[in-house]
Symmetry: C2
Subunit: 355 residues, 2 copies
């Protein structure tokens, strides 16, 4: 577990000085890369690919071979935990993730229990260890999971939803049941992320994809409170290194101060938030990660570079910024546009960091 040669990402998360602003992209190993599609074809289904540590390692490393990225992220899904609880995760092209056995009855909720990360989620730990071996000491590896509320959305709705009618009806009418699901999820995600850290993840991120669909009061009670429990329970030192933790609520720009207060090292921003204003709001409490609109990658390379520079300038000089998109990269992104982005972030930020 040696320090990576390029530890810019880890230092930025801890708000320590860096020579440039590190950059990685949510969903950087994905369908916009032809080499990913090729490996995916060999693997079979998306879950077959996740469950095969060798192929998961292969796709994790693909974007690093193409681009000068400052971090790798475990190739996996945000929903592995409820899958390991026995709900049966599967994917339908164009419809996103679904569960074969969503939680419909009270007894199903009462019977829910956290999986053993070393058993039901062994394949993830094997992938983490294998990726760390393959990365050597190049760049750090990020582990991750969906947030308790985001997992619950899929577990209860059975898939993606426009309005989250089923889980919200439960939230209003049977908050006790939803709290039970969230408690089990929070325990399970804590154990899962800690097992990833034990297996070699050097930073962890909690993806709260759907917390932003809640009212401000419900967000605090049903999403943020459970992410706080996870952050409280995380192993924060491993092999002599500090393990930073990033929390990202899509659509959470109104609640930054509260997210920054739960003990995480960094807060992810989607593209609707002004990162300069966000920095003033959170002060020196946390680092910030973000926040280019992923759709900006459809623009011409010069324009992409301009947009990236505008975000770097808005954040301003000093450490504590990890450049990223405000959401996962689109499968339709031209791969060469990512080169323009990564180079612009490195070049422009080197100048800013000399100030």
């Amino acid at each position: 577990m040696n320090k990576p040669k390029n530890d810019t990402f880890l230092r930025a998360l801890l708000r320590q000085p860096t020579e440039h602003t590190p950059v990685w992209l949510m969903r950087q190993a994905g369908r916009y890369l032809p080499e990913y599609c090729e490996t995916r074809r060999r693997a079979g289904s998306f879950m077959d690919l996740c469950r095969n540590p060798q192929l998961a390692t292969e796709v994790t490393l693909q974007p690093l071979a193409r681009y000068d990225l400052d971090a790798a992220i475990l190739f996996s899904d945000i929903l592995t935990v409820p899958d390991a609880m026995g709900l049966g995760l599967y994917f339908v092209e164009g419809e996103g993730p679904k569960f074969e056995r969503p939680l419909r009855e009270e007894w199903e909720i009462r019977n829910l229990s956290a999986p053993d990360p070393g058993v039901e989620l062994r394949y993830v730990m094997d992938a983490v260890a294998e990726i760390r071996r393959a990365l050597g000491n190049s760049v750090p590896l990020i582990g991750f999971s969906g947030s308790p509320f985001t997992l619950a959305c899929y577990m209860i709705e059975g898939g993606a939803s426009d309005d989250f009618r089923t889980i919200k009806a439960m939230l209003y009418d049977r908050p006790d049941l939803l709290h039970h699901v969230l408690e089990v999820n929070a325990g399970a995600v804590t154990a899962y992320l800690n097992a990833q850290i034990e297996s070699g993840a050097q930073a962890v991120m909690i993806f709260d994809t759907w917390g932003g669909a809640l009212s401000h009061r419900a967000y605090r009670e049903f999403s943020l409170a459970y992410m706080e429990r996870i952050v409280d329970g995380l192993v924060r030192e491993h092999g002599g290194a500090r393990i930073p933790c990033i929390v990202f609520t899509k659509g959470g720009g109104q609640w930054l101060e509260e997210i920054a207060a739960i003990g995480c090292d960094a807060v992810g921003l989607d593209w609707t938030t002004d990162i300069g204003a966000a920095r003033k709001r959170v002060g020196d409490k946390v680092a910030l990660q973000g926040n280019l609109d992923p759709v900006a990658l459809f623009a011409q390379p010069e324009k992409i570079a301009q947009e990236a520079c505008a975000i770097l300038d808005a954040y301003g000089p000093g450490s504590g910024h990890v450049f990223n998109l405000g959401h996962g990269i689109s499968q339709f992104t031209p791969p060469e546009h990512v080169t323009a982005l990564v180079n612009a972030v490195h070049e422009h930020s080197r100048k800013l960091h000399q100030i």
Copy 2:
């Protein structure tokens, strides 16, 4: 054009004292009402219903017959203006609005021109006049349109979109073209809303359904700036009465101060914003409209009443609040749950207004 007997809604928008907090619901004349579905069946398509002033009047009045609502809203669509420009609006069940002839080529954009509200949109003016006659002096009638950016989303994407890839690529690479579309739209919407006011609308609302999908910088340049132009060009007095104007950007909670500064009388809030904090942020600049999560209407009636009271309490005593949902009512809402909401708002707010 006499003052309505119940002008609570108009007074609240102008932050004048009222005895209770007025309430109406976005999409209150809609598919959750069996009587609406019955009229709709007789009319044919959704656009046939919009184009028939008599039937549009019938459905506009249906929710007022059932519930003690403080305002009526013209039965129409946010996309009538681009339809009148010749783009061919139609609806596909479960997919939302589409255009037969979306803007694909530069020459199509250069040829775009504002429709004459008295000709191509005559059917809307006839509906407004007919509804006013049918309402008598009971409650005020709200006119509306989509915002220039929201219209442009549909005009350029051709329908709803997950990521607004086409319009955003234009925004980055050909801002001149997008600005041209938005200029034409802003002029067209101004003329359209003014014609609605001439025909009898007693307040107007601009629906910016998709402005919240933009980055903060793009929102200001491509959505807010054009709503400001409309507000500047609106007739603000008609028949001796002040005509209040409401601006609603879904997902705009981070930008309230800026929205409140464009000269509108009221700002709509979706359910993610704390209305108490919002009131502090906008001060006495504007009234606020909102902001119950429409999905809360799936909860049991007692819970709905509790949630409504929590919003009224968060706003606090004093005028300047119009109660509404944070987005349109769902077609799956049990109609009797709306009774519980409307009654709770009236009863609880009467106590608050005595403070």
